[in-house]
Symmetry: none
Subunit: 202 residues, 4 copies
Amino acid sequence: MGLENYRRSVSDAKCAAILKAGRDNFLRDGYSRAAVAEIARDADVSTATLYKHFTSKEELFAAVVKDAYLVGEYEGIPENVSVEDLLVNVILRYLHSQYERQINALLRIVIAEVPSAPQLGRDMFENFVTTRYRDLASILDRLVARGLLKQQDTQYAVRLLGGIVKEYFVWPALFEANKTLPADTEAIVRQAVRDYVLLYGA
Amino acid sequence: MGLENYRRSVSDAKCAAILKAGRDNFLRDGYSRAAVAEIARDADVSTATLYKHFTSKEELFAAVVKDAYLVGEYEGIPENVSVEDLLVNVILRYLHSQYERQINALLRIVIAEVPSAPQLGRDMFENFVTTRYRDLASILDRLVARGLLKQQDTQYAVRLLGGIVKEYFVWPALFEANKTLPADTEAIVRQAVRDYVLLYGA
Amino acid sequence: MGLENYRRSVSDAKCAAILKAGRDNFLRDGYSRAAVAEIARDADVSTATLYKHFTSKEELFAAVVKDAYLVGEYEGIPENVSVEDLLVNVILRYLHSQYERQINALLRIVIAEVPSAPQLGRDMFENFVTTRYRDLASILDRLVARGLLKQQDTQYAVRLLGGIVKEYFVWPALFEANKTLPADTEAIVRQAVRDYVLLYGA
Amino acid sequence: MGLENYRRSVSDAKCAAILKAGRDNFLRDGYSRAAVAEIARDADVSTATLYKHFTSKEELFAAVVKDAYLVGEYEGIPENVSVEDLLVNVILRYLHSQYERQINALLRIVIAEVPSAPQLGRDMFENFVTTRYRDLASILDRLVARGLLKQQDTQYAVRLLGGIVKEYFVWPALFEANKTLPADTEAIVRQAVRDYVLLYGA
DNA sequence: CATGAATGAGTATTCATTCAT
DNA sequence: AATGAATGAATACTCATTCAT
């Protein structure tokens, strides 16, 4: 079994190297301009090896995107904080993760490929929008249950919050490469949360 | 001058034909996949003529994008309507214009090209986001002046409204080709405006 | 019209050069091994130009094959010769044409591609077998009409003659590259014709 | 010796599996398009093992072809039948063997490879043409010796028969994949033999 | 002895751009 | 001024063969 394990580990390492090189290249050049040969070269692998692991450029890109989903987030909700602080905290964690992992740049490319790879668009929407909204809605539901927020349509409430957050932090990042979170991020988030609490707070 | 005028008008007609063919091709195939030769063919022009008018594919695309800015919108603000109705009306006009002119599909392509054509991204952001927000803010300012809305930071108010509208009507359209405005568009817009008026109404 | 004519003549010349280079390469290397890039280079043309003229390697090959059909043959039948001499003469003309134009080598390649390009096989069979047999049958029919041959099934008679001729002169050429007509060709053909006349002569 | 025998038998089995898989692949895809990796997979062997048995794709193909020679044919000549029936019988056995064993498809591939593998062409010609003709000639010789046929050049006679048989049953099969023996095969063979007997019968 | 991962050289085809006419 | 033929560089993908384990 030593041989098999050895092979698997080598293979996994190459696969990871390809994914990383692919990610870098796609982020830098976009999907169409990124060259499979260069990705292979950057990963210190022959193109043929790359094609052993991923049967096409498209599949490699899909794998790169899927790879971005994998990081788990915000398990517990801390007690003893105000509703406002809690929501600000949750949203800031979203945002930092989004920026650190360069999800915005990835979004750009996926959006560009929506007409030719619709499934990829749907998947990414599901994973980066719908799922997060589900998580946030469940938090709001619990706060409602605890009497800390009014009865409300949490589906809509989530989108209200999400809308203003995207407005400030995602939308501009789509139109400018290498955007970083602005200095007044927390202030803006806090303002948005405050409005929300004004409307829907207990 | 007759000959010169004739020549100019022919030239302008060709230019318009190229822009239209370019628009169609870019919208259908995206930037990279769209072929200059096909655009020229669709415009009934030789490739050389196309290159006389636009020095590169990139410039042609930029011109196509700029062309989309040109359509004027919502001149007058009707009097004698409630603040709510007025805002709903204005927003719906934005949305219909956005969908009818396929701005979402164009946005997709511009977004994709942001890393390689940053100026284009900035321009489009300026023209489709900032400008509109300025218009809307001036409307809000006037409403504040008339005492129909509270004193407020209209810059922020506009983005609150814009965020929720994009959340529902632009964001999903980026991730799905050929999306049309949903049937309950007006209801959603009205709900958003109602929330806004609750917070900032006089 | 000078420009147009000039362009056409240049274009035709290039087309001919490509066909010739294609023919040479296919004959030397077979279909699969022949490289489009090398054909283009031999024809002093870029690959893109080659693809303007022929939309694919397969189409180029088909054109090369079709080109081989184009040479017209044996219009008149001389009078005042014996039936035997006449037939020997006709058959020898077939054979020389077949060898000079390297039809055998072309046949080899077409045969190889029959599973993947069945239409090409059918076309070549039609043009190099069926058509010739029709010509020869019409000759035999006229000889029968003149009373120089017995009443007979000329369809079958033609295939009897064709079979023996292929047996000696085509079949071996399929299995050996650059085969030339053997020295005793005429003697063998004469023997075959003699047998035929023994069976079917008046 | 038990272990050695076991090993040899395993090795032989693998070799046979490779040959069979090779045959199937070459027949299906032709020489160039057939992929060594797929042959190995079909044979349940690693590519390295395949290369242990056959040092190159070309050699494997040669072995596949040689394998087709190995089936023995028509040992005894029945007595007490007419010359005509005897010859018809012999020829039909040739033909059925040729079609059942897909020799025509194999011929196609060998013919295609003649320029690059001339020896293979010569071998196949020797084994599928010359050898058979020798067998048939020896039968004719015996018939002449028994006084059932005239004195004759049996070399030539054999090719007369062979020519007409190929004309009807091999030649068309080269130009059409998956051809089967036509329904009137026996009638045609009988007609050919009858002509031959007319010419050369006692 | 057997493996299968890895390779490098090669393939057909495309496209933005130029230039002789 | 307008053409459209021509190009050269690039691209995704394949495959016979080898070699470390």
